[in-house]
Symmetry: C2
Subunit: 197 residues, 2 copies
């Protein structure tokens, strides 16, 4: 049996990890964003469909374009973050299945012919991949500030004008600061969430 | 700056981890399912909404009930797995917001009055939580076999007849065996998935 990770690792990615609203001024270089992908890309997706597409918003002009699409409460912290990841999904993810899931030659057509299945699969799996990205970032020592508060129509128009990619959520990334850390929210009890049959 | 986890930890949860189709006969006791929740519950959700609800299917009668709802290719491996987690979402997750997100007293009504927002939030966040569960299981040394291949209408009727919970995905859990491990699928290149602006 594979042993559990040591406690400090479990603390870093789960037990002591927090949603950060502020970051230090240390930059997040391209090399780290590549290291990040080289971890989270291994998280499993249905039929290896990998629908998530990421735009790392880091330059001042790109941040300015993002600003107009954010909910009021998310503007200041996002403008100040070293980088903001837009996690989108590719509505035509299935075009990659012939190379990504050759075991089932009919996989592409299964999704191409069923818009509801394709859209549910893109939403579910790009959300799974957003969580893999968060866990991978924490594994690398980065702090995350995930957000759903933005105008998806405006964001899609600004960043994905051809309509193929659809924004799912945002994650601010950087080196964590303790500033503006809210008290940690409670969690539901085991019995409220889990049943064993 | 927080350092990255050591390589063996990154290997265990990302780089060497695989989707398992077979498990050893070692059991997965209640205490381990509680340990699992005490990790993955800390993963962040929007407004701390925590919509995921888990049914651990472990007994023979519960497995039999699940069997009829599975896609043909998922039957044998699921019947043989020590435990199968049904990851569902609570369509009325927002009833818990007064205790789980007291910072925004209007949070419950925001979702109670907007069925589309509630349903998107439940789907997105229960999917994030499914990924947290997978990463937490791997952190504890468990192997996972996530699946989307089942009949959701039949599964919801069998396990959630009052209509409040909706199945999202399934994850077989146990101690990994190398039997029936498929060759690992490729992953998209950095440039196919990521843009830096």
């Amino acid at each position: 049996m594979t042993p559990a990770l040591p406690d400090p690792a479990l603390d870093q990615i789960f037990r002591s990890a927090r949603t950060h609203n502020r970051f230090t001024s240390d930059p997040v270089p391209d090399s780290l964003l590549r290291q990040l992908y080289d971890l989270w890309k291994w998280g499993p997706t249905s039929m290896n469909c990998q629908p998530a597409r990421i735009v790392f918003v880091r330059s001042a002009p790109a941040k300015e374009k993002l600003k107009a699409t954010l909910s009021a409460g998310n503007v200041d912290k996002t403008m100040a973050a070293p980088v903001t990841a837009i996690i989108a999904s590719d509505s035509r993810f299935f075009e990659h299945l012939p190379t990504q899931f050759p075991a089932l030659p009919t996989a592409r057509d299964l999704f191409a012919g069923n818009a509801q299945l394709a859209s549910d699969t893109a939403f579910r799996n790009s959300s799974l991949q957003a969580a893999y990205l968060i866990m991978a970032a924490r594994s690398l020592g980065l702090a995350c500030g995930p957000m759903s508060g933005f105008n998806p129509v405006a964001l899609n128009e600004a960043f994905f004008p051809d309509g193929r990619f659809k924004a799912n959520m945002l994650v601010n990334l950087g080196w964590g600061s303790e500033q503006d850390l809210y008290p940690r929210g409670p969690r539901l009890a085991f019995e409220e969430v889990n049943q064993i049959l």
